[in-house]
């Protein structure tokens, strides 16, 4: 095993798959022909979760991110293994609170931007101890 092997770690969703997951028509007559074209159904876990041990669900309260299409009561998927790059929507910890905001990084400043005029931008020094990135938001599930 190479020492630097760990530096590029990626983990892809579901690792277990059984042939029984492929459905068949169970028809006795002519319909059985369709069985030749049966394939696995779509698994949302597999599509929406890239890294299972690092993925958490959270519920959004409030309207801080309505401009980004994330509303009160929505369920978000948070991946802790992703790098928190500038421009990503993140869950940040600041002064003991967890916030969902858009992250903006410059060489000496970090900004947490709400996507609503109702909240103010939070600006901290890049060296600030009380700011942490809990995880990167990858999807929001919104009931229609």
């Amino acid at each position: 095993m190479e020492g630097d092997y760990f530096n590029e770690t990626s983990y892809r969703g579901t690792k277990k798959f059984s042939q029984q997951d492929v459905k068949t028509a169970d028809a006795t007559g002519f319909g059985a022909a369709a069985d030749d074209y049966m394939e696995r159904g779509i698994d949302l876990n597999e599509q929406l979760i890239r890294n299972k041990p690092a993925t958490f669900f959270m519920r959004v309260r409030g309207d801080a991110m309505t401009g980004a299409g994330i509303f009160d009561g929505d369920t978000i998927i948070v991946d802790r293994s992703l790098k928190a790059e500038s421009g990503k929507v993140v869950v940040a910890t600041l002064n003991g609170e967890m916030l969902i905001r858009r992250l903006e990084k410059t060489f000496n400043k970090v900004r947490l931007l709400p996507e609503t005029p109702k909240h103010a931008t939070i600006e901290v020094d890049a060296s600030c101890d009380s700011l942490g990135i809990w995880g990167v938001v990858t999807y929001s599930i919104h009931p229609v």
Binding site: M1, F6, R59, V60, T93
Partner: protein, 427 residues
């Protein structure tokens, strides 16, 4: 090279992951029924909270230092433990290189990584686990499990200097480390052996390592003792173990949420524990032939000693092995009649299933008789419903409805990772 990966104050770390306001603050987690302290953050240790101290005894200290206490949230800890272990399995690239040793510890097999790369590799594992799961770990690396444990002990003892990673690759490093470690802190040296060794003038791990293997054999419990000395000398004698897939005995025991005097409450509890044990039995495709039940009363002079009285137990051998909950509940509840004494106050009860054999009534088994097969189908359906709906939606009436004896968990946090209705709310 082998390593042990050990989560730092695991239960507290799980709680803090969803309570950023408690970072660097003292936190403790209580055992079942909020009985005593089972996990302490470093800050709580510094405040003088001891391990396994009863909650009521630690209460003044907890209030004085503003320590946050939690009831055990095993749903959360179990899920977080899986995440840590899964991350390790992914990093090692092969599940057989990870031996889950307990809920918060795993041995990993690092193979033949060159000595100069060991520290960086271990540090990388530590950082990845923390990044992915939010749980901080300490890692000890050495040629044997026993020395890895010792390395980890030193890493934890001085987190600031070691950054929670300690590698003992060379013999020199191992000797230095062993000289600094008291014999009582060596993995596998229990309280009784430690006393014996100290009486013989063997006080450090290093002194123990200089003893001949044969001496270990005669004085430290036979082959285990000989292996212990070999391991301290860097000779691997405890290999990576496979998980115990099929258990030989299955037990479910619990403290009651409050002292119980009524026989019907005890019967309900026993029926519930039997259901749980039978569920575990079916999960490993076994059937049980022997069922034993025990109940533990409080001592007469309880107010003075706080101690429990002697365990009272009895068992019964069934005509044929079974995995059906209803067939197990009946004899279990009957045993309570034999054991129960009017007027006593009970604190704890348990059920043990033994005489395990492969379940003959499993679906698809050609030799299974008719009614047995349907019994098994019924159990499978019940298990499926209970596992998918949770909270034992289907249970036998014998398990009761009021459940006066149920576990006390007054300070439990939400089940953030396993319940859709209890997700963390972010603003």
């Amino acid at each position: 090279m082998k390593a042990i990966v050990d989560c730092n104050s695991f239960y507290c770390s799980c709680e803090r992951l969803f309570r950023p306001d408690l970072q660097q603050k003292p936190v403790v987690v209580l055992s079942n029924n909020d009985g005593c302290i089972v996990s302490r953050s470093d800050e709580a240790k510094a405040a003088g909270v001891g391990m396994a101290v009863p909650y009521f005894e630690a209460r003044p200290l907890i209030q004085q230092h503003g320590i946050t206490a939690f009831s055990s949230n095993y749903n959360l800890y179990g899920d977080m433990s899986w995440r840590v272990m899964e991350t390790l399995r992914h990093l090692l690239g092969n599940a057989t290189k990870v031996e889950v040793y307990s809920v918060d510890e795993a041995f990993i097999d690092l193979g033949d990584i060159p000595a100069e790369k060991l520290y960086d590799t271990a540090m990388n594992i530590r950082q990845t686990v923390e990044q992915w799961t939010g749980i901080s770990v300490s890692i000890g690396v050495a040629p044997t499990k026993t020395l890895a444990k010792l390395a980890n002990f030193l890493a934890k003892k001085n987190k600031a200097a070691t950054q929670c990673v300690k590698v003992l690759a060379t013999r020199e490093e191992q000797v230095t480390a062993m000289r600094q470690t008291r014999v009582s802190n060596v993995w596998g040296v229990g309280w009784a052996y430690a006393k014996k060794l100290i009486d013989l003038g063997i006080t450090s791990a290093w002194e123990l390592s200089t003893m001949p293997e044969e001496w270990g054999y005669t004085n430290l419990g036979g082959v285990v003792g000989a292996r212990l000395i070999r391991e301290l000398n860097g000779l691997p004698s405890r290999e990576m173990e496979k998980p115990l897939v099929t258990k030989k005995m299955i037990a479910t025991t619990r403290m009651f949420g409050q002292p119980v005097t009524d026989i019907n409450d005890i019967k309900e509890a026993i029926a519930t524990y039997t259901s749980r044990a039978a569920e575990k039995l079916r999960r490993q495709h076994s059937a049980a032939k022997v069922i034993s039940v025990f109940i533990v009363p409080r001592e007469q002079n309880y107010e003075v000693s706080f101690r429990r009285g002697a365990t009272i137990s009895s068992h019964i051998t069934l005509p044929a092995a079974t995995s059906s909950t209803n067939e197990l509940i009946k004899p279990a509840v009957q045993l309570v009649d034999d054991l129960y004494e009017q007027g006593k106050v009970y604190k704890k009860a348990g059920v043990m299933l033994a005489g395990l054999e492969p379940d003959e009534s499993i679906q698809g088994n050609l030799f299974a008789a008719g009614p047995q097969k349907y019994q098994r189908l019924l159990m499978d359906m019940m298990d499926n419903i209970n596992f998918s709906m949770r909270d034992d939606v289907l249970k036998f009436a014998a398990s009761g409805l009021a459940r006066n004896w149920k576990m006390r968990q007054e300070l439990r946090s939400k089940r953030y990772t396993t319940r859709w209705e209890e997700l963390y709310e972010v603003r």
